[in-house]
Symmetry: C2
Subunit: 455 residues, 2 copies
């Protein structure tokens, strides 16, 4: 079995993910082929991966290449974890947006405040995913494309529309937002059967039951809100990625009838994001993961992760399996590979082509829902009950439109469509402002290819 890993040198492809791959049941005897455009980072990842496998005593063949086409030959799985240009680029784009009157940057918009998740300016991610899929059509058409890099909803939907023959699956660990929530509710995960579904970064608790009796557990949520949440919020500091526990989530639940999980609460309306003061009211002292305060902390932690990677690389005596114990983390792509290779069934939260799974929405987009994966990657998606109409019309369809808008601008290669998207933005006060913001972004040296695409 061979896994090609695109963007293996990116910080996102951290040692925790190397670990998750190396400890797979199906890892022994397999080949992991690492690809990156940055040779120094590629070498670092390659070195760490080799050392980790060696410490574990697992027989894995490692390859590395600056050219992804080399890695695709014979691949069974292609993992795309690349985040082109990285966080410095993202923050530079944000600053240009702010100079033009777009608080938090032009890609911080209704239904997406996640600080590195693009819908408008996702060009690099869109193009890379298409290029990988094109190469796969030629070199390894039967392989699975495991898309881990954001924006998952946009990229997985784009692949469904443009490259429907490639078996593309989007992975996001946002569902784990439910675990601290269950803890706050006083529930033990083992006693709970839950289902989350919707679109990536727009998933809702569509089932929440006692595992034994099947009794609905939403009343436990209602009781928590009425009697315990105020005290909880007074005494708990809500950390990064813990928006599921925030007053904003409760507010959304009250209006829409289902509880939002994970990044969903980071991807809502301006009501929670007008300014830092508002964000603190709804998300606690950090103002959420994406506020001025939250993002700074997040980037610090991110940098600490990168530093650790290089520290371990430069310290041949460090024991990697001590630094990062060989216990399975949250990556589901490794679960997917294991289920497909060993045939041991696993229930995973995947982003896959809709094709009628959620009949309230078009066929040609990607939806997120639980899927039982088995031998050879066979997938049995779970039935999902229809969403409440208010949630569909106020949230899911508007979120879907945003995806369609970004992909339409990309498909048409049209700067005019990018401007038109900004015309719909509440921060736009004139057509001139929208045009100038788009032009300023396009003239960034890092965006020269993007500028050629959007004419």
């Amino acid at each position: 079995m061979k896994v090609a890993i695109i963007g293996a040198g990116s910080a996102a492809f951290s040692i925790a993910w190397i670990r998750d791959l190396c400890i797979m049941k199906s890892a022994p005897g397999s080949t992991f082929s690492l690809v990156d455009v940055n040779e120094q980072r590629l070498d670092a990842a390659y070195g760490l991966a080799k050392r980790y496998a060696k410490e574990l005593g697992v027989e894995i063949k490692f390859e590395k290449s600056l050219d992804r086409r080399n890695a695709l030959h014979g691949a069974d799985f292609v993992l795309n974890t690349a985040f082109p240009s990285g966080h410095d680029y993202t923050e530079k784009m944000r600053a240009i947006g702010e100079e033009h009157g777009y608080y938090r940057g032009i890609d911080s918009v209704e239904f997406n405040f996640v600080s590195d998740y693009y819908t408008i300016l996702g060009y690099k991610q869109y193009q890379l995913a298409l290029d990988i899929a094109s190469d796969m059509e030629e070199i390894c058409p039967d392989a699975f494309l495991l898309q881990v890099a954001n924006p998952i909803f946009e990229v997985a939907s784009l692949l469904r529309k443009e490259k429907s023959k490639i078996k593309a699956i989007g992975f996001c660990d946002e569902y784990i937002g439910i675990y601290p929530f269950m803890m706050a509710l006083g529930l033990s995960p083992a006693d709970v059967e839950f289902q989350v579904s919707g679109f990536n970064h727009c998933i809702w608790l569509t089932k929440f039951r006692e595992a034994n009796t099947g009794a609905d557990l939403y009343p436990v949520i209602d009781d928590w809100i009425a009697n315990k949440a105020p005290e909880f919020w007074r005494t708990t500091e809500i950390g990064l990625w813990q928006e599921t526990l925030s007053p904003a989530s409760v507010d959304m639940y009250k209006m829409y009838g289902l509880y939002p999980i994970g990044d969903t609460t980071r991807s809502f309306t301006w009501k929670y994001h007008y300014n830092l003061e508002t964000a603190k009211k709804w998300f606690g002292h950090l103002g959420g993961t994406d506020s001025e305060v939250g993002l700074e902390l997040r980037l610090k932690r991110f940098q600490a992760g990168v530093d650790k990677l290089f520290r371990l690389t430069n310290d041949p005596n460090a024991k990697l399996t001590t630094e990062v114990p060989p216990e399975k983390g949250h990556s589901e792509f490794s679960d997917f590979i294991d289920a497909a290779m060993t045939g041991e069934e696993k229930r995973l939260f995947l982003n896959i082509p809709n094709n009628g799974l959620l009949p309230q929405f078009p066929q040609d987009l990607a939806v997120e829902l639980p899927v039982v994966v088995s031998k050879d990657g066979r997938m049995k998606p779970e039935h999902v009950d229809p969403f409440p109409k208010r949630l569909v019309n106020f949230v899911l369809i508007p979120r879907m439109m945003r995806m369609e808008w970004g992909l339409e601008a990309f498909r048409a290669g049209s700067r005019e469509v990018l401007v038109e998207i900004l015309i719909r933005d509440p921060r736009t006060k004139s057509e001139k402002q929208a045009r100038e913001a788009i032009e300023a972004i396009m003239t960034m040296p890092e965006n020269s290819e993007m500028a050629r695409h959007y004419r």
Copy 2:
């Protein structure tokens, strides 16, 4: 044959409409039953209608009543032309909106800048239409409900959702916007075959052909835009209701691939409405029908129409058929009645339940398209080709959402949902602002019933 006319005393039910009804082929021997809540205005309409028929020498029986249930007995057609509370009320609501930071009032929003067309605060129109339909279910379940009062898209969709057994049809004469446009293009209507379709106030030129040869006439539009439009705009003052001829329509066509007709151009984005200066750039010297300037002129003309009605009422010697010659005007409800009664087929632009006619949209809303009407009101809707995807995703679905939002607030009777609609409004800078605007509107004495409904 009996026609019940609800809101017969409203200014909208003008002498031109009395004329159109009286000159129908099917008018002789029929009964017109006029209803209004305002006795003085009802008496005026009743008097004029009787005089008009007498001058024409047509045998029509006229009735009048303050209670619509009286009029419904035996009715074959129920015409709803009522505009509860009228223009003074509308302007008062607009002023309250502006006091709270909502330029042009809270109901002047993306996809609806028409000054008396509500989507958010349409309570009175929604409730009245439902009440009429409920009475009809009981008294005249087989009659047609001809809805002429705005907002047509919202009301016709509401009736489709809530009162699907009543044969409700919405009428709007916006399609006539194509006639001055054909004149500007140098085309004679007799030589042209055209189709407009979409939603009310969001209709697009889905077919534009030479009648004889079937040749596509869109190239004539392209030629006009490239070579003649600049001169046209320099030398022509675009009047009220002539937005089809404006630079805004051309701008929309360039982006969306189909030409917008009629009120469609009045129902678009803030791009054309940021302020009066912007509106003048896109709509000419008036800044369009709905700008500060256009609306003032419009209300003056409206008042002149009302004054004329009362002048004629108070002048028993006036010859009505001279003042308003017996030549068919733009009302299509009279065409519908005539086609249904005489069996003479007519092609009309109607708002009817979608039920798959435009398969890109849900079944349970009203769509506007050409329909051939024949004996007993049988309807043969025309085939409409799919709309361009960009138009669907940037315009038609967002417009549809606005309708769903307003109807959801109404269905739920929820003030919180009204606030949530304003949260999506670019003029909203804080939750507090949205709440205060809604509260201020609800405390207007004219809105006491509305305030009890939205709790």
